[in-house]
């Protein structure tokens, strides 16, 4: 071992394609005085990784970009670039046949890339991320829209409903000519017209206990924009079982609520142990909702997703954000994991998806065999 006096501890981000070569870790710690020394240290610990970051001539191959604090090292001193304690390094492979980011992508995402909290490395993280939007409606619309604009690589849309004229007062993914079309198809067309770079996957089916564990595990993060309690409890439980972060939002009249559930740090059942009896808390169709409120809350959900992907800032985990549009007040209250929670508490009794129609005591809004998610 060197004496260590000049050794700097660096955090190295490992992207998805290389993670299996690095013990399935997203971040590695390594020491060295220069970029080359840090890479050597990584290579000796993870030989498989070394084969990827060095070619036969022991040089970094052209299809690999190394970033130090979001700056590509070719523009610095290459392998000789000195590193400092606490620096963040990233090893980013080119995507098939191109640079890590194409010139068009650098241009399109430039307002994100120039921010030090995002940079080219963060942009790559966004482009690798897979986010499921439950409900292509008031909340799912703006959430999906901003995630697509940000270049989130894969956006899944789960909805079985068709566009109704009464949706257009708030649901920005659909336009007048879309009335009668499937919401998933209308949503996909809109998102791709904003950003053809994004892969939009549609799940044109009611989300149920039968398919939730097939669909949700395909994604990294779930956004809840459902319009009924049955789907909300289903999505909560399925996200927990799949180990996925759930970015929750809900709205009624002039009120909005948003939070983030990370498995082990509280869930929807910790917040609301049981749904109201049918009819006691009206839905938007019965009571109404301010259209622009959906834009605020859906955007907040998109922000929380982006922060989760980039691993920046303080998320709404363990906090519930309340927005009252009439008083124009945002407030934050504490959200605790309930040790008595039947899903994620100490003596959990729910170990698989249950009969949500029975639990919620109400027929599914979508009909006898479907859950309406809009």
């Amino acid at each position: 071992m060197p004496d260590g006096s000049n050794q700097m501890a660096v955090t190295v981000y490992i992207p998805t394609p290389f993670r299996r070569l690095a013990g399935n870790q997203t971040y590695l710690k390594a020491e060295g005085r220069t970029v080359g020394e840090v890479l050597d240290a990584l290579g000796s610990e993870y030989p498989g990784l070394k084969d990827m970051i060095y070619d036969e001539a022991d040089e970094i191959p052209g299809h690999i970009n190394i970033y130090i604090n979001n700056q590509e090292v070719h523009s610095l001193q290459g392998k000789e670039t000195p590193v400092n304690d606490g620096d963040e390094m990233a090893v980013i492979p080119a995507i098939a046949g191109g640079a890590a980011l194409t010139p068009e992508q650098v241009d399109r995402y430039s307002r994100h890339i120039i921010m030090p909290q995002i940079g080219p490395v963060g942009q790559r993280k966004l482009m690798e991320a897979k986010v499921l939007i439950v409900g292509a409606g008031g909340l799912g619309g703006p959430a999906a829209l901003y995630l697509a604009l940000a270049g989130v690589g894969t956006i899944g849309i789960a909805d079985f409903d068709v566009v109704d004229l009464s949706n257009l007062q708030r649901q920005v993914l659909h336009q007048t000519g879309d009335v009668g079309r499937k919401k998933t198809e209308s949503a996909k067309e809109t998102l791709l017209s904003y950003n053809p770079d994004v892969n939009v996957v549609i799940h044109n089916t009611p989300l149920t206990s039968d398919n939730a564990m097939e669909i949700i595990p395909q994604y990294d993060i779930v956004v809840n924009g459902a319009d009924n309690f049955t789907t909300r409890y289903l999505v909560n439980d399925a996200s927990y079982f799949a180990g996925k972060t759930l970015v929750d939002g809900s709205i009624l009249l002039f009120d909005g609520q948003a939070t983030v559930f990370v498995p082990g740090h509280g869930c929807y059942r910790c917040l609301f142990p049981a749904p109201p009896p049918p009819g006691l808390v009206p839905n938007c169709a019965e009571a109404g909702v301010l259209g622009a409120l959906t834009g605020v809350m859906g955007s907040i959900q998109a922000i929380e997703v982006v922060k989760q992907i980039l691993e920046i800032g303080d998320s709404l985990v363990s906090r519930l954000l309340l927005f009252d549009a009439l008083s124009m007040e945002f407030r934050v209250v504490k959200l605790r994991q309930d040790p008595k929670c039947p899903l994620c508490g100490d003596d959990a009794t729910i170990t698989e998806l249950i009969d949500y129609e029975g639990f919620c005591g109400a027929p599914f809004p979508g009909g006898h065999d479907g859950i309406q998610v809009s």
Partner: protein, 90 residues
């Protein structure tokens, strides 16, 4: 003990449209009793059989009273209670 109680829009119709109502009480339960006198029907939206509905949370300032003393949570002058039912809309 003067306590401010904030209501979500869905509950405001039971309080004459007020977003925030003044109340009196030394505990959450006493405030709810006082509210019921002033705005009949409001308490039933929040409690049944001496328990807070499981789809409604009451916050004392920023803390869920379920993790404090439930309906027996003591209050002090100037406290703010927020009554928050689950919302399903998306």
């Amino acid at each position: 003990m003067a306590i401010e109680v904030k209501l979500t829009a869905n509950l405001q119709k039971l309080a004459g449209g007020a977003r925030s109502v003044q109340s009196e009480g030394a505990t959450v339960a006493e405030v709810l009793e006082d509210l019921e006198r002033r705005h009949p029907g409001l308490r039933d939206m929040v409690v049944a059989d001496g328990q807070i509905h499981r789809f409604v949370n009451i916050y004392l300032n920023d803390e869920d009273v379920r993790f404090l003393g439930q309906l027996n949570t003591p209050l002090k002058e100037g406290d703010v209670l927020s009554v928050l039912p689950a919302l399903a809309g998306g």
